[in-house]
């Protein structure tokens, strides 16, 4: 293992090349201000000397960070439990899209507002902008943060009052489609599995209610199950729920992971999916097409979402004030709903 070679700076290179630091800077930046020959020579020297530019200094001088902070507002300590592939995909898209614009992604463990540095009354500004992937239970924190810092885009439930830029799926519409689909298949008693404390899930709940109302069906509170995102917990929570069968013949799950957990419990109880119970999920995570039964679900256009968020953030960085966007969703019919 190699020991840290004491960092070589531009000054060093300058000395080696017998030119000034500014010439090195320009040469390495490919400026046409420095003679092509010199530029080459300097590049060469820099390479041999194993020079790495100090991005911090560079960015300080340039007054930029070229970094965007991406925050997954997941309860602290729970992060370990995420595993919802939705998040990876989103992160992947964001990383890619931001990369295209020359930005790096900084993931920090904790949201900027719960800085815990002792006696520290200020937020750290380490990025040119922030993307929140999901509002979680932190709406008001995010709002405050956005008011103070401006350069913010959030993924989540889009609602009229927002004074910051939100990009999100059409949760209401998606859930309505999903529920309606089951109703049209003749199911009458459809359960809702999700955590309505989260704004997006709240919207999905609305869509679910809409669909029921449109079919003149009542909302049976005992079939609205507060189910967390985490698959292990979802499994536990849906355990007692399945015992309610046959009081329900359909399930709208707020995420594919929840659907998977629920189906596992149903099978375990000897209840057949989709014969006895029709199940529709949300997200369209990659494995939903490959599990058995494959899961009918509401597709979220994650790639498009990531692109739009980045695009909007860039707009904000340039001084604009882009509008929020609602992204349409699509029902992907597979086996779990029983539509053949």
């Amino acid at each position: 293992m190699m020991r840290r070679t004491t960092e070589v700076t531009m000054g060093d290179i300058a000395r080696m090349a017998g030119v000034s630091e500014s010439t090195v800077s320009r040469a390495l930046a490919g400026s046409s201000l420095v003679a092509a020959k010199t530029r080459q020579r300097i590049s060469e020297i820099a390479r041999n000397a194993n020079f790495s530019i100090n991005e911090q200094a560079r960015n300080l001088a340039l007054k930029q960070t070229r970094t965007i902070e991406v925050i997954f507002p997941i309860e602290r300590g729970t992060l370990q439990q995420v595993s919802d592939p939705f998040f990876v995909d989103m992160l992947a898209v964001l990383t890619d899209e931001l990369g295209k614009h020359g930005y790096d992604v900084l993931m920090s463990r904790s949201p900027p507002w719960d800085e815990d540095r002792p006696g520290c009354a200020f937020l750290g500004a380490r990025a040119d902008g922030v993307i929140f992937v999901g509002q979680g239970r932190h709406r008001s924190d995010i709002r405050d943060f956005a008011r103070k810092h401006g350069k913010v885009v959030v993924w989540g439930a889009v609602s009229p009052g927002d004074d910051y830029c939100v990009v999100g799926s059409d949760n209401v519409g998606g859930a309505r489609m999903a529920t309606t689909h089951m109703l049209q298949l003749g199911r009458k008693r459809i359960a809702f599995l999700g955590d309505t404390d989260l704004p997006e899930m709240r919207q999905r709940f609305e869509g679910y209610c809409d669909a029921l109302k449109a079919h003149d069906l009542p909302i049976d509170e005992s079939l609205v199950i507060h189910t967390p995102f985490d698959i292990e917990k979802a499994r536990e929570v849906s355990q007692p729920f399945v015992e309610l069968f046959p009081r329900f013949d359909g399930i709208f799950a707020c995420s594919d992971m929840i659907a998977i957990a629920a189906i596992a419990n149903l099978r375990q109880a000897g209840i057949k999916v989709p014969e006895d119970v029709s199940v529709v999920g949300f997200d369209d995570i990659p494995s939903s097409a490959h599990v058995s039964p494959s899961i009918t679900t509401v597709h979220q256009r994650i790639h498009r979402a990531g692109m739009l968020m980045v695009e909007r953030l860039m707009g904000i960085l340039e001084g604009g004030a882009p509008e929020p966007v609602v992204i349409e969703t699509e029902l992907i019919v597979r086996q779990s709903c029983g539509a053949h």
Copy 2:
């Protein structure tokens, strides 16, 4: 949406408070060098003025970055396709553990060696250290990088010749266990699904071969299927493979995602798991316990892995040269192997 308020600096705060910049700096850092009263007053002013410290400048002065670069060496452009929950979990653990040590995580789109800045002959040093999650097809790149930059830890296949610090699961042992398990269940013709070009998969292949040899069974090349990680592609690749049935009665899959894809194809072809074919995966991703049949798999201790990597990286940053670690794996018996 708020417009960018022109950044307020320490100088501004100093002026407002009628003290020098250095006092502000110390006050905000909670130094006992400045009178408690003054400290409070300054904090107050800073808060009201909505001051954010410029971490870049701070870090420059402090000669640190407090940032670790985490790289998932996934082919460029493919990133979108990851979705393997293994990665999220790893990322989550790393983010958490590094956070505990006061480090942020920088995810960059591309590995440091394929910087594409025009005319740029140098690497950007933007982090105090680098963690590679997987060596992928980039072993030699990583080795070069490690030689030059030192502060590197990689997750992947641990092998004797490494001159950098590697942390990895006992792939050989895990695969051997998995395969042996099926052999003990009476299976004779076990297929291998994975991409042996990747060092870790190569090791798993070794373990697989070991087990077969120990049982005096030949290695049937036609049952060694080059299967990529991506679930969609895995599904495609294993499609023609299942038609070989009944030439095989067991499958060792290099990841749970591959196992899930293979099982989907088997079922589609009317082949029963585990009755007709016994399947064992690798990783123990969260959903493997909840799909049907639940997947017997080799558990990777991701949390421990993340902790160890961070611990080792910290060691390196302090000038040490920690040893590589092999982390033992564990066979989790569920339904897909047919062991009841």
